[in-house]
């Protein structure tokens, strides 16, 4: 039931929400999150960002994340759209929509979806600075902590291996 897309083009937030709710009257609340490109990082101005991904695995991981949310919250609608390629400051990166009969489920699922997208789907950001430099964005421990909030509810048996997005690959002796 979920809609999952990876695309270079921008997305239309209103249209995506309308697609989830069109023609139905069982939805009571729709949660939505849009992630956008900030114009600076660590005090350096950003001119652009590129988003690389792992075609095939990306769609798989996104579908699993959506399915995990649908299982936990009985969602009536769920949309994940993630852009790839070159994006400018202020540009849209990612859209999450979750609809449910009540608001608490819709909002919790929205938070879950973006937390897991950030830590369990194979995307990588590279920032290009106004000073001419560039750097791959480092994963934030804070994002791992936010994603881990949800893991406890299903334990280690979740469809997505918590090790996968999170745990380091231990040095081989």
């Amino acid at each position: 039931m979920a809609t999952v897309r990876v695309q270079a083009a921008d997305f239309d937030i209103g249209a995506e929400i309308a697609a989830v709710s069109a023609g139905r009257a069982d939805i009571g609340g729709i949660g939505c999150f849009v992630g956008t490109v900030r114009g600076e990082a660590g005090g350096r101005a950003i001119t652009a960002m590129t988003l690389e991904h792992y075609p095939g695995m990306t769609e798989r991981a996104m579908a699993r994340i959506a399915a995990a949310a649908e299982r936990r919250w009985s969602l009536l609608g769920c949309t994940l759209v993630h852009r790839v390629g070159r994006l400018g400051p202020g540009g849209n990166i990612v859209l999450v929509v979750a609809a449910a009969s009540h608001r608490q489920a819709a909002l919790e699922a929205t938070g879950f979806l973006i937390d897991w997208l950030k830590t369990r789907a194979p995307f990588w950001k590279k920032e290009f600075f106004a000073d001419g430099g560039s750097a791959w964005v480092e994963g934030r421990a804070e994002d791992e902590d936010l994603a881990a909030r949800w893991a406890g509810e299903e334990g280690q048996g979740a469809a997505l291996d918590p090790q996968g997005g999170g745990g380091p690959l231990d040095p081989v002796p």
């Binding site: 690389e52 792992y54 095939g56 950030k118 789907a121 194979p122 995307f123 380091p168 081989v172």
Partner: protein
């Protein structure tokens, strides 16, 4: 267009983000090395291939792996025909 599957007896290796840049390649097919049965074995073998490989894979805490497009752990088995990808921790969203 997906690439053709790796030939018999080979692994398809894929690299993303700074691992791709450091190694200067996005994908390569290699014959399954003797004694490599897990991701951990493969990582040890990759480190021995060249200086750039040793450098790229030395910071194991900053490298993640997927086998056949599922996140993997050091003890995940690898076999001929598998697609094994190495990449930094993901940073999408």
């Amino acid at each position: 267009m997906p690439a053709p599957p790796p030939g018999p007896g080979t692994l398809r290796l894929r690299y993303f983000a700074w691992l791709r840049e450091r190694l200067g390649t996005a994908a390569e097919d290699v014959a399954l090395p003797d004694g490599v049965a897990t991701v951990g074995d493969l990582l040890a073998w990759l480190r021995g291939r060249s200086e750039p490989h040793a450098a790229a894979f030395s910071a194991a805490a900053r490298v993640r792996c997927a086998v056949n497009q599922d996140f993997a752990a050091p003890d995940t088995p690898v076999a001929a025909g598998d697609e094994v990808a190495f990449f930094p921790p993901v940073t999408g969203g």
